[in-house]
Amino acid sequence: MGEIKALAQEDLRLETSVPPRLLRLLSLVTVLGFGGTLFLGLRAAGTDIQQGEIQRIFYIHMPSFFGAFTAFGLTVVGGALYLARGSEKWDRIALAGVEVGLAFSLINLLTGSIWARPIWNTWWTWDPRLTSAAIMCLTYAAYLMLRAGIDDRMRRRAFMSVYGILAFVTVLITLFIIRVVPETIHPVIVGASPQNAQGGFEATSGVVTALIPSLLLWLTLLPITLMWHRVRLEERLDALDRLKMRVLSE
């Protein structure tokens, strides 16, 4: 029994169960930042004249998409570096990117849906942009299903790196679809709105003060902190697997 404990200590590196100092600092800043942007969005920014309080959901809705963009982008980086270098840490980053990105894009869909109920008078419509955002979510859900379906570790990492790179195309489509299919009703806040857009509002100074901090938080701190925690979890799961193998083989 004592032997196994010694193995566990060695393999799971129990002494590192406390996150590194930088991660702890990052987590604290992220939590404070999240509270701060919520305050800016819910209190500091003025109420929209046309849409009222519901417009405030936008301070989460759009940043969450860009948070997903960062996370999925890191999946591409992780996948490419895994294929080039072959170190499993890159694959862990890619996996963390998919999970965090999927959570963010679900937040994006959910908040959009809640906003659309009073403004478009429906929870959901098959608008090109909504459709492509939903397909983006499904692509990354497919990533997780595929990943679970491959038993061999080496093969799993290589295949999922490839799929993670291909899947990013759906993110780009969601971003640029209004150029391909112009008849979307989804409003564009920055830049020219499509002709049919419904529910747009002016990017007033209130929007800018609340939006920019929130956008910066969701683009950088939030995905990176969450992904770091997820990578650490994956490391420990891998270590646990190795330990199981060793105990079973002895």
Binding site: I135, L146, G149, R155, A158, S161, L166, T170, V180
Partner: protein
């Protein structure tokens, strides 16, 4: 000493064609599926003249993509079950050549289905689908499906769930092809100005080229050691 690229590609395509001529397995399954799908759509949607013009491009592309999925799954499963891929991998052949060879084989089969489907739909739906720009769109679109499909079928055939995973993996990834192809088809069939379908067709061609290069680069990682 590696065999020249073209020789490898030609050998793989020739092998696939010969196997198909002998068994006729892929084409009969895909062809029958495409026929059933077109009939099913016309009953399910109870297509009257007006509705037909609206949905015919959607029916065409949905049928083509499902027929492609069917063919790709079958072609890769055959390759795996009969040890064809292992044999090819054992040969000193570049992975890119294997990719292009398999891609062209799959493209030829889906292409044949496409060329049966166009006159068939022309007859059944009373609309002329045999127009040069539409044929070009079909060729490029099917080449795009075959590109992504060959890579993903090679990947999913090595997973536990095998056949079940290809549609899930492939359908979201081919969305850009479907989007632009349906757009071009719609514009061509409605007799819109040439620049309207040309821009969609140009976009389709650009997407196909990007995917082709991406898949060519990535194929060596999915084909195994």
């Amino acid at each position: 000493m590696k065999t020249p690229f073209i020789t490898c590609v030609a050998a793989i395509v020739r092998k696939d064609l010969r196997a198909e001529i002998r068994s006729r397995e892929l084409l009969s399954v895909m062809g029958l599926f495409a026929l059933l799908s077109v009939l099913l759509f016309s009953f399910a949607l109870e297509l009257d003249r007006q509705a037909r013009e609206e949905v015919v491009s959607g029916v065409l592309w949905v049928t083509l993509i499902f027929a492609s999925l069917l063919g790709l799954n079958r072609s890769m499963a055959l390759e795996r079950d009969q040890g064809g891929l292992d044999a090819i991998l054992a040969a000193p052949v570049s992975r890119a050549a294997i990719f292009v060879g398999k891609l062209l084989g799959n493209f030829v089969f889906t292409g044949i289905v496409g060329f049966v489907l166009l006159p068939l739909m022309t007859a059944l739906y009373g609309m002329n689908l045999l127009r040069a720009p539409l044929i070009l769109t079909t060729i490029i679109g099917l080449f795009g499906f075959a590109t992504v499909g060959t890579l993903l079928a090679t990947l999913t055939v090595q997973t536990r769930a095998r056949e079940a995973l290809l549609p899930i993996a492939m359908l979201p990834i081919v969305l850009p092809f479907v989007l632009t192809a349906v757009r071009a088809t719609k514009a061509i069939l409605s007799g819109a100005a040439a620049n309207e379908w040309q821009s969609a067709l140009g976009m389709l061609a650009a997407i196909t080229l990007i995917y082709f290069l991406l898949c060519l680069l990535l194929y060596e990682y999915v084909v195994g050691e």
